[in-house]
Every structure is written in C-alpha cells, then in structure tokens.
C-alpha cells in the first residue's frame, strides 16, 4: 500500500501535499489509527531521534504507545469481522448490499 511520511518520518494515510509517498507492505490490513502511530524510515534514509540516537532505514517502529495502537487494530479487526458476518447474513436473506 501507499503511505505518506512527513519530515520526521511519521506515517500518514492521506497527503496534504507536503508529504512523501512510500510504497510498503508493512501496514497492509492495518487501520488508520494504527498506521498513523508509526514512523517509517525508508532504505537509504537516516532518522535522528531527539536524544541523538541515529537509526538507518529501512526501519519502522511506533512513536505512539504500541499497546494503544494494538488495541485500535484489535477493535478494527473485530468490527470488520462483524461486518462480514452481517453481509453474509443479509446475503442468505437475499438482501442486496449496496457496495
């Protein structure tokens, strides 16, 4: 998928015109809240953390509390599962679902 990174390598799912597009499979299947809690440093790039430690790409790591991001993703997957169950039930009832 295509994500967008800012000049601090933080990930975004939409581009306000100032961001850099990156193609990666690192976030396939992940919800927006999860993706936007990560940093992605592409191969060939270097990021220096505020304490001076340097990381060389390719590296992806959360900048928000990962426990919170994981909880968002869990809720997203549970919701998708419910929607899939609902679609299946409607299909059995012969109710068309607008797509």
């Amino acid at each position: 998928m295509i994500i967008y990174i800012d000049n601090d390598f933080k990930c975004h799912t939409t581009n306000d015109g100032t961001l850099t597009a990156v193609e990666t499979e690192s976030f396939d299947g992940k919800c927006t809240a999860y993706i936007e809690g990560f940093r992605f440093i592409p191969h060939g790039e270097t990021w220096t953390r505020s304490d001076g430690v340097t990381f060389i790409g390719e590296m992806s790591a959360p900048w928000k509390d990962y426990n919170v991001l994981a909880a968002y993703q869990e809720m997203y997957e549970a919701m998708n599962e419910e929607l899939a169950d609902a679609d299946e039930a409607l299909a059995e009832l012969g109710v068309a679902v607008d797509g």
Binding site: S26, D28, F55, M59, Y66, N67
Partner: protein
C-alpha cells in the same frame, strides 16, 4: 574508598578519570543506586543503574579488594516517571556505552542467551535452518520454492519497558528478492501463523548484503515481546549470521 565517580550533564566530562560514569541528563541527580530491580518509592532526580550477572562495563567499585559491579542500563526518576538516560563509562582511555546483551556469540555468562525456536510464517511457509558456531548463530532461509519464509526467535519474551534501542550485529549473505525483501530484525508481540512481516511491532530490514548493525527504536514499546529474525528463501539463500543482540 570508591573506585568510580558519577557525573551528570548533557556533555561528556573533559579529562575524565578511569571509571568515571557519565549520565547524559539535563535533570539534577539527587542520588543514585546500583540495583538489579527497580527501586521502590523513588524521589525526583534519583538515578537507577540497573545491574545484571554480566556486563561489558563491569568495574571494581572499591580501590582495594574486589567488589565488581555489572551495569547494563540507566534510568532517572524525572517528571514522576522512570526515563531512560544514556550512560557511559570512561575505561582504558575511551567512553564505553552501556547495554544489556540478549545474545552474544560464545559468551556463556550472558544469561539471556537461551536459544532459538524456528517457525514459519507466510503463504509459502518453511522453517529456517538455525546453526550455531563459536562466532555466531546462522539463520538460513529454506524451502522448496522461492518466497518460502520463516522466523527464528528467542524462546522467551523480553520486557522492553523503558528500553530505548534494540541492536543486532549481523552478516547478510546469499540471495534475496529485493522487491519482496522481508529479511530483518523483528519485534513481535506474538508469534502467529500469519504473515510475520506485517504482524510485527517494530522491524529493521536488511536491504544490503554484508556486515552491518541493525537498530530498532523500541522506546514506545512497553511490556514483553519476542525478538528474532525473519528470513525469506530465494534461489538457495539468504543467510543472516548474528554475533550479538543488544538492548539499551
């Protein structure tokens, strides 16, 4: 009489004496303690030097006889919470970083070097080959078709709370598909049967062959995680040979 000195500040001390311990901090150090476990009821400014059974930075704490201290990490109680602080020791004419070994080739005193477990993880799954030698552990992709992939990871989880950086010294050889490169150093909350490349908390990927250090920012991870390597079989390779894994 103590055989070491502790200095706080945002710049390394000039003309330090042997066993000077520098804590990179802009907060006043009110007191300090060496302990294997987190101190109870800390006060503002307290520096906790975490100790273990083994450290590259061991030192004799007193001028006579021998009471050796094995520091592996440094935190300061600042703003109502424990905050990771960089610590270095001036030893034999140079500043040395502090860190905790997760794995060190040939070092039986590294208590956390408890072994690896190989498993598989994507559409074309195949358990990697893990072999040990005096200078490291080699993880090789295996399979009967290209794009087979698998993982090798330390059997027990590691507590990454208040840890800052995960590093691994590796040599990457063989062949790889750069368009689908998922070889690298991984942090997982769980080892699932799913696509391990997408199912991780943090990763540093191998994009070039040769000897290198992989570094992962783990400062936003708290709790226990698996640490290991993912490898993807392609044209008979590749191999990740690891000599050290460190946590700071």
């Amino acid at each position: 009489m103590l055989n070491f000195k502790i200095v706080g500040g945002t710049e390394q001390p000039i003309n330090p004496s042997e066993n000077t311990i520098w804590v990179n901090t802009d907060a006043d150090i009110s007191s300090w303690v060496f302990s294997a476990t987190e101190p109870d009821n800390p006060t503002a400014g307290l520096v906790w030097f975490e100790t273990a059974a083994y450290s590259e930075n061991k030192f004799n704490a007193i001028k006579k006889n021998g009471i050796y201290v094995y520091p592996i990490g440094c935190k300061q109680y600042d703003g109502g919470a424990w905050v990771y602080k960089q610590a270095q020791t001036y030893s034999n004419g140079a500043w040395k970083d502090w860190f905790e070994y997760v794995y060190k080739a040939g070092e039986t005193n590294v208590l956390t070097a408890i072994g690896w477990k190989a498993t598989s993880g994507t559409v074309y799954t195949h358990v990697p080959t893990v072999s040990y030698s005096a200078d490291g552990v080699s993880i090789s992709g295996s399979g009967n078709q290209n794009a087979s992939s698998g993982v090798a990871y330390f059997k027990n989880k590691y507590d990454l709370t208040n840890k800052s950086v995960l590093e691994a010294d590796v040599t990457f050889t063989g062949s790889s598909d750069n368009a689908l490169n998922i070889n690298g150093l991984y942090v997982w909350s769980a080892i699932s049967s799913g696509y391990f490349s997408a199912d991780n908390a943090a990763v540093a990927r191998l994009n070039e062959f040769g000897t290198q250090t992989l570094s992962v920012d783990v400062s936003s991870l708290s709790g226990e995680y698996y640490i290991g390597f993912g490898v993807r079989y392609m044209n008979g390779g590749p191999t990740i040979k690891c000599s050290e894994v460190r946590l700071k």
